[in-house]
């Protein structure tokens, strides 16, 4: 880093000895090329992300059915939203889904990452096998799980029957449908696991050796070395988990369409229904912005809590 800082920008090089050049100076040329290179990304961001976001923000203050021009309704969509029992139900379903699935996925991913970081036979096979579900399309995964969850002929209930348990009607029983979705979401822990696995490569071996010398058991070594050393990875996974859990769509849409009795009506599914089935684009946009606000608040809270639990490496630590 120190060496890199020593390289001074070209603009600060002495220029007196070089004859003045016509046209752009080096600084301007560099700036121009910089803008040229970033232009596609910036344009893409503006046209396909920021632009639609601003448009949806505008639409959230209108009544818009796609067939006729939007009509300005002020904050009506937002006030209707908070008085809408289905939205409240959807919000609670989404929060339950996130609160359960995010930590459980992370714990599972961490445990497996630790296991896959040890010297096991066929390690590459297991690493690939556990990561594989993450690269399969959500719709394909949901179709497979739909069959597995079938109360009559599904694999899960067939397995439970072998041990004398009469399995529930997973996807049609209000009590079980959300649990089934959460259970299925755990299957996609591969991405989180991979990030943990990468993080584990960076944990100095000496720390484990020191803990071992101090008499720490394997569990305590992981508790006092692995967990704090991976706290920044956990921080990243937590943020991504929160965002993903509030945006999950394909699985509930394919498996339950939000039913039975709205028990799996995650916000994204409710948003879709309003936008594309009831043609209430303004209302759907308001849902999207409330979801965005929730994500922002939760992310902010996690960021604020960072100093309390995230271990950041300083020069003194080296």
């Amino acid at each position: 880093m120190a060496q890199r800082l020593a390289v001074r920008p070209a603009a600060e090089e002495p220029v007196a000895s070089t004859p003045p050049r016509r046209g752009l100076t080096m600084t301007r040329r560099q700036a121009l090329w910089c803008y040229v290179f970033i232009a596609p990304a910036v344009l893409g961001l503006l046209l396909f992300s920021i632009g639609p976001m601003l448009a949806s923000l505008g639409l959230s203050f209108t009544s818009y059915d796609m067939l006729t021009n939007p009509v300005w309704t002020g904050g009506d969509n937002y006030s209707a939203l908070f008085a809408d029992p289905i939205f409240r139900k959807s919000l609670s379903v989404t929060l339950i889904y996130g609160v359960v699935s995010v930590p459980v996925t992370m714990i599972l991913a961490l445990v497996l990452a630790i296991l896959l970081n040890s010297k096991l036979p066929a390690l590459k096979f297991f690493r690939s096998a556990y990561y594989l579900p993450s690269v399969i399309s959500g719709v394909a995964v949901a179709m497979v799980w739909k069959w597995m969850f079938n109360g009559e002929y599904g694999l899960i209930n067939a397995a439970l029957a072998k041990v004398g348990i009469d399995g529930p009607s997973w996807l049609t029983d209000e009590q079980w449908a959300l649990r089934a979705l959460i259970f299925m979401s755990l299957w996609g822990f591969g991405g989180t696991m991979l990030i943990y696995l990468a993080g584990l490569q960076g944990v100095p071996k000496e720390l484990y050796e020191a803990a071992k010398v101090d008499g720490a058991s394997t569990f305590r070594q992981h508790l006092h070395v692995t967990v704090p050393m991976l706290s920044s990875v956990t921080f990243f996974n937590l943020i991504m988990g929160i965002i993903n859990s509030l945006q999950v769509f394909a699985e509930p849409f394919v498996l339950t369409q939000g039913g039975p009795n709205n028990s799996t009506l995650l916000l994204s599914v409710y948003l879709y229904q309003n936008a594309f089935q009831y043609l209430k684009m303004g209302y759907a946009s308001a849902i999207a912005w409330v979801a965005f606000a929730i994500i922002m608040v939760l992310t902010l809270l996690v960021f604020r809590s960072m100093p309390m639990w995230v271990h950041t490496e300083t020069e003194d630590d080296r």
Partner: protein
Amino acid sequence: MSKNTVSRRILLGGLTAAGAAGLVGCSGNGSGGPAAAPAPTGTELVGKTNLEIYAWTNGPTIDANFRKRVALFNKEFTGKYTAKINFLPYDQYWQKVQLQYAAKKPFDIYYWDVQAYAHYKKNLVFNEQPVIDTTPMVDANAYPTKLYDPWKFDGKNLFCVPENIQSMAMFYNKSHFDAAGLDYPDATWTWDKVVETAPKLQKSTGSKVTRWGLDIGSLGIWWGIQSLSWAAGSSFVDKPLEPTKFQMTDPKVVESMRFVQDMMWSKHIAPRPDERAGVAQNNGGFASGAYSMIADGTWNISSFQQMKDKWAMAPLPKYEGNSVAPYWLGGWVIPRQSAALSAAQAFATWSATKFQPQMAKDHDWIPLQNAARESQDMLKGMPEGFEAAMKDLSNARIGDIYTANMQQIFNEVYGKNFEQLLNNKLTPEDAAQKMQDAATKLLG
């Protein structure tokens, strides 16, 4: 910073403004837009001659027949029009239709379903009555013109061009009845007789039912249950076109719900929702011989034709002494902004007139034209009982409800509560009350 240097703030600001302007331009939501085409007369050529037709996919047999139909149209109108048909999955179809309208570039012509009522309400489709008036479609001796009435949204004119008709009937597996030595269902059958017969057709291995005597089929959908309440002398709404009130708590409606629920739960002569899902996933239901009887839509006829077993159909059994089947019209919607207006009208009216005998031969849709529907070409290869079921059409009632929020009512109110009812999570009384309250709220 030098004056000549474009600041990042200015650059980003400019790009944002350009992006936003582009977005506004793309959204096509301006109040202007192209003027609506003049009301068609059927004689002058309006719009382009190459026609893009949109329909949702109905499986390989029906899709192939649609393509064949378009080829025949192109042959018939060689040198005048060229049509091409595009298929989309049903769940994407209506989104696409809406998006095309939003972009002010609607499809030239598209296939009707109840969602298109919203397009009429928003004044996006033409009054097609002047065109229809130039065809034999208005001849009451040649067409069942009375059945058009629910599609006359303004009480006088047709805003879509009807071309086919569908209804509901009882389908039964003749092989199962023969093996059990039972008489086939016919127009005299009542639902009580069905309830009595179904267990005699049921087969089990241990505690597991391997063949059900009955599947409720379309009785599991709101319009199926409504057909029972019609038979009992009531209805879900006071009128199907722009209803002013729901009548879900009417005792006759509640009883019809209880009847269906009981067949699945207290009597258990028909599979429960989870058992139905299992059958559907495992082997596909009636067509695979998993059910001996099913109350279902006539649009299934072409897929049932692939069955190995012998099968036939009968009019819907009587409930409370009556049988009232629902019917649906199939047809074409032509947007006011159709880019190929004359070609679209030609295709729609040709489909409803000259093409009808071929539709009868194809056995996919049921022709609207009486002569085609009752022709030997139609009856040949159709199951026994088809003719009797078609005769019941004179007594049939429209299986749709037309009002602005109907999709939300179907989904949030009917869908959710009927699901609960069929899963025995709600009593018929509670389901009726919930639906009455929620649907009335959405009606307002």
